[in-house]
């Protein structure tokens, strides 16, 4: 495997393991709660809450099926939120973060071309994020066994792929900002604001009609947290990733690298 890819994975081995175990545990725990949601025990206790609060908790109607529960309780917000944080953190850390520490300068002196260096870093991060995402998949399968329900593997795969693409896209915003400016603060700030703004727009669009057009700028608009596979949405998310990647690489190739002195 390539030098930078193996180095990044090795350096982040404890972080990867920690996130994997954390996400796996969280997913199994959420699966374990399904019977409680399904039997309506929780729905009864939530009666009388204002609709806005209910929205945060999720769509009660979907809790009666395992598919609806997974879609609503895992993939609507919680899993994407965790993995988006990881993705932004990694892209920032290895692009703008490395540059801030002066490591990019050192890496470039070791026969790494600029484009290759970036591609190796992106490959390493995609591997790490996908690995952590696989914890969700494994968690659902193990959870299924614990609570004696069955949910088709291919449908979980579709949601996980969608979610993975969404999370990588937000990370690639940090990548793009890092490549353009080489500044960690800007990279994290822009990616986080875009992720939060996107979520806010998409969650409010149902009740605020004039947000329908601007909401198309939100990546959550193209994210399906259910079993529906919409090729157009996958294409939009993929093209977004590709555009961030290409602009980032071009910008990085034409500017001075920031050094620590």
């Amino acid at each position: 495997m390539r030098f930078i890819v193996t180095k990044i994975i090795y350096q982040k081995r404890y972080l990867i393991l920690g996130w994997f175990i954390g996400v796996l545990g969280f997913t199994i725990l959420m699966m374990y709660f399904f019977p409680v949601f399904k039997n309506g025990e929780l729905s009864n206790s939530l009666k009388g809450l204002p609709p806005s609060i209910e929205k945060i908790i999720g769509n009660k109607a979907s809790w009666t099926t395992i598919g609806g529960y997974i879609s609503d309780q895992l993939f609507a917000l919680r899993v994407p939120m965790f993995i988006i944080i990881l993705s932004i953190f990694l892209f920032n850390s290895f692009i703008a973060g490395d540059e801030k520490k002066g490591l990019t300068e050192t890496q470039l002196t070791l026969t790494n071309g600029r484009t290759r260096l970036l591609i190796d870093k992106v490959v390493a991060i995609v591997i790490i994020v996908s690995f952590v995402m696989s914890a969700v998949l494994i968690g659902i399968i193990l959870g299924d066994k614990i609570i004696h329900y069955h949910y088709a593997l291919n449908t979980i795969l579709i949601i996980c792929t969608n979610c993975l693409l969404l999370c990588l896209d937000f990370g690639l915003v940090a990548f793009l900002a890092g490549c353009l400016f080489g500044r960690s603060g800007i990279a994290i700030g822009l990616a986080s604001v875009y992720a939060f703004g996107s979520y806010l727009l998409s969650s409010m669009v149902g009740s605020v009609s004039y947000l329908r057009i601007p909401e198309k700028l939100s990546l959550f608009h193209y994210y399906q947290n259910n079993t529906v596979f919409i090729a157009k949405d996958i294409i939009v998310l993929s093209v977004f990733a590709l555009v961030c990647l290409i602009i980032g690489i071009l910008a990085f190739n034409f500017r001075d690298i920031k050094t620590n002195s």
Binding site: Y10, E105, L110, T111, I257
Partner: protein, 303 residues
């Protein structure tokens, strides 16, 4: 790669950061097997020149070739280069051995035995995490990383900062051995004794321009020699008032029955001049590089 190709050629290189012009038309040619010292005060443009050479900074204008290959073809040129700077950032969460192992795999070679030998010479533990090492030991890891893959060109930016005097001596030995094997060195340094001992040629940079380019020997012969004369007070007085009769002779100071003079020019004329005086003793010494350095900057309008 032919023997007739220069190790490094920099032609008319300009670099500015915003409105701040840092390099103003740098021209340099370093031949294979040469140790070149790059000298200049802080902020003169030494590190910027090196970073432009390594394509870390992109030049606004000009060409740089490393063994005849454009410096922007990093993957080709950097495999020929070993680089060390005084503030080189290394991966703190790796041990020295892991870091050097990554460099070894980067150069697709079997260079770890070299790294082991160098670590023994430099007395640095490779099993410790880089982040836990002192600045000097981190610098040693950087030096091993620069040398272990037997590069054809070593680019060193203030390489011995953080080294104790003993390790500085080891460093000088290592560079001499490297030169014997045919290596080329481009080195910026503030330690003039080190430059004097190692370099074949030096370049002086000031305000982004090269103001002098000489061999160490040329530099010494064209520079003001130190002349110390011992004589009685009467004779010293005479010399003090008549020294201008010999062009190139400058009065510097006097203490007791000794007078310090500076001389630049034909040494035979100085000998003829002194033979007409009643002196007890005379010493003529080569100037130290730091004196030459200061002289050069003063002549160029520096402070």
């Amino acid at each position: 790669m032919g023997k007739d190709v220069s190790a490094l050629e920099i032609r008319d290189v300009y670099k500015s950061f915003g409105k701040n012009d840092v390099l103003k038309g740098i021209d340099l040619k370093i031949e294979q097997g040469e140790i070149f010292g790059f000298l200049g005060p802080n902020g003169a443009g030494k590190t910027t020149t090196i970073r432009v050479m390594l394509d870390i900074f992109r030049a606004n204008r000009g060409f740089i070739e490393i063994f005849g290959i454009s410096n922007q073809k990093i993957r080709k040129t950097h495999s020929l280069i070993g680089y060390l700077s005084s503030d080189m950032a290394l991966d703190h969460d790796l041990t020295g051995k892991q870091y050097l192992g990554h460099i070894n795999s980067r150069y697709k070679g079997e260079f770890m035995p070299n790294a082991e030998v160098l670590s023994n010479i430099l007395k640095v533990k490779l099993s410790s995490k880089i982040g836990k090492l002192s600045t000097g030991n981190r610098q040693k890891i950087g030096l091993i990383g620069a040398l272990m893959h037997n590069p054809k060109l070593l680019i060193l930016d203030e390489p011995t900062q953080g080294f104790d005097p003993l390790i500085q001596q080891v460093f000088v030995k290592l560079i001499k051995q490297y030169k014997k094997k045919g290596g080329t060195v481009f080195m910026s340094s503030h330690i003039l004794a080190e430059v004097q001992e190692l370099c074949d040629r030096v370049g002086f940079i000031k305000d982004g321009s090269i103001i002098g380019l000489k061999t160490i020997d040329d530099l010494r012969s064209s520079s003001r020699k130190k002349v110390i004369i011992s004589a009685d007070q009467k004779e010293l007085e005479k010399i003090k008032y008549q020294h201008k009769s010999l062009p190139g002779l400058h009065y510097i100071s006097e203490s007791g029955n000794r007078m310090h003079l500076g001389f630049s020019g034909d040494i035979n004329k100085l000998m003829d001049y002194l033979s007409t005086k009643k002196i007890d003793d005379v010493s003529i010494m080569e100037p130290e590089l730091d004196e030459i350095f200061l002289d050069l900057y003063r002549k160029d309008g520096g402070s």
